[in-house]
């Protein structure tokens, strides 16, 4: 199982690919909408790419609970364990 940092790095790569936000800005305490300016459409792209990368399922109803990068990393850690 990937470490917290590995998951954050993986997510940061995805976010950079989809939105152009620099990977180093994608830190655990950052809000996807308020800090990283990711709109709802790009968020769905990020989620689907994360599902693929980490081999997990992130149900649509969970996405609204993933406010920060840290929330997403925690969800992926739990879903993958």
């Amino acid at each position: 199982m990937a470490s917290t940092e590995e998951i954050r790095e993986g997510l940061a790569e995805i976010v950079n690919e989809i939105t152009g936000v620099p990977a180093e800005d994608v830190q655990l305490d950052k809000s996807f909408t308020d800090d990283l300016d990711i709109d709802s459409l790009s968020m769905v792209e990020v989620v689907v790419a994360a599902e693929e990368k980490f081999g997990v399922k992130i149900p649509d109803e969970e996405v609204k609970n993933l406010a920060t990068v840290g929330d997403a990393v925690t969800f992926i850690e739990k879903a993958g364990s």
């Binding site: 989809i18 939105t19 152009g20 709802s40 459409l41 769905v44 792209e45 689907v48 599902e51």
Partner: protein, 419 residues
């Protein structure tokens, strides 16, 4: 209805075409008679009955930032590129409010013939191959035909309205006609108008080929598109588009804008005849030309140039010649005409805009670009076709027409006048 007194002028030009990534390079290529038709190199071309096309000279990926481009269908990428060039050319920078304009008085009419077809097809491939979860959340915003128009309105902060006429190959000429209406009716002072198309892809090529619309010649690609020539056998599919900044003459004058030409009027009609064949007597085209002249307050004697629709199909080119002769009578053989599709192919929903832009520049510079590949004029064509080298037009008052006709029997004729 009485003709409105508001005059509409062209103050900015933007284009990306098979012969140039901007207006200057496109115009230079047209004057030089340089063709943008090439052998297509994509893998998928191998099984197709037609393996040539006229791709954009400059790929939009070379112009737009990667992240911006990936959220836009190629047709909208073209639109954004054209809009930014036209906007800057008109002397505006930044969004409408930053450019000193009232955003509620700025509109967009950006046409598409087919819409985001390649986005639709690639998402269908995802659905079929990888399941529904892999269909992009951006699929609908990218494939909807109003996407180029909406994206231009967002980019420029154009809030007076963003419209998308769809009439196949006359779509972007119709866009210019509707933009003129917006200004005449007082709904906007400035309208960015034109259209784009981006469907060089296996399905449209197969479909157009099966309609017998495309040339099946397999010799040198640059000689395949040959409007008015005896040996023409269909059009060549191109991509790209153009947008122009149209403005009320009053608004342009108040800000001291450079004026390329006046959009003097528009005429539209429908053949009500056949979904793909031109009406052989040219009845609908004749009506559209007469309406354009009347709307512009011009008589046939005022017209000194026609930028033809002429796609290089056997029936269509003759029908256009028949119609022009019906309107202009004995004067027809003394009106220089040209057919840009001989060099850029057929841009479908982008064609009317690019060719209107060429018409505007023809009036502005007093030069008619040549038609390529007219080696042996068809006996049924009775027109003064400018060939080989550009034709100089006389100084002084001058008006010109641009013809655009679309599958479905849509006829749009625009009249332009020297400013």
């Amino acid at each position: 209805m009485a003709r409105s007194q508001a005059r509409v002028v062209v103050t900015g030009l933007g284009a990306t075409t098979p012969v140039g990534g901007d207006v200057a390079s496109t115009w230079e290529s047209l004057l030089a008679g340089r063709s943008g038709v090439r052998k297509l190199t994509q893998e998928w071309v191998a099984d197709l009955p037609v393996q040539i096309g006229a791709p954009a000279a400059v790929d939009p990926s070379e112009v737009l930032p990667r992240v911006e481009a990936r959220r836009l269908d190629r047709s909208a990428q073209f639109a954004i590129i054209c809009a930014r060039e036209a906007w800057a050319d008109a002397g505006f920078s930044g969004k409408a409010s930053e450019a000193g304009l009232d955003p509620d008085r700025v509109g967009v009419v950006c046409a598409s013939g087919i819409g985001g077809l390649t986005t639709l097809l690639s998402n269908y491939d995802q659905l079929r191959d990888s399941g529904p979860r892999r269909v992009s959340p951006l699929a609908i915003p990218m494939l909807m035909p109003n996407s180029p128009s909406a994206n231009v309105s967002i980019d420029l902060q154009a809030q007076a309205g963003a419209h998308t006429p769809v009439s196949a190959c006359s779509s972007s000429a119709e866009a210019i006609a509707l933009a003129v209406d917006m200004i005449r009716l007082g709904r906007a002072d400035v309208v960015v108008a034109g259209g784009t198309e981006a469907v060089i892809s296996p399905l449209p090529i197969a479909a157009f080929a099966n309609m017998m619309a495309l040339s099946k010649r397999s010799d040198d690609p640059t000689v395949v598109s040959r409007p008015f020539d005896k040996n023409r056998d269909g059009f060549v599919l191109g991509e790209g588009g153009a947008l122009m900044v149209l403005e009320s003459a009053e608004h342009a004058e108040a800000r001291g804008a450079r004026v390329y030409a006046e959009v003097a009027g528009a005429g539209m009609s429908a053949d009500a005849h056949h979904i793909a064949q031109p009406e052989p007597t040219g009845r609908g085209v004749i009506t559209a030309i007469r309406k354009a002249l009347a709307d512009a307050g011009l008589s046939p004697e005022d017209i000194g140039h026609v930028n033809c629709h002429a796609t290089s199909t056997p029936a269509g080119d003759v029908a256009e010649s028949v119609a022009l002769n019906a309107v202009f009578g004995d004067r027809t053989p003394s009106i220089p005409v040209t057919a840009p599709k001989s060099m850029i192919g057929h841009l479908l929903g982008g064609a009317g805009a690019v060719e209107s832009l060429a018409t505007v520049l023809t009036l502005h510079h007093g030069l008619v670009p040549p038609t390529a590949n007219v080696d042996d004029v068809d006996d049924d064509i009775n027109l003064d076709i400018v060939r080989t080298t550009p034709r100089k037009l006389d100084d002084g008052p001058l008006a010109a027409l641009n013809d655009s006709f679309g599958f479905g029997g849509h006829n749009v004729v625009l009249a332009f006048r020297r400013a």
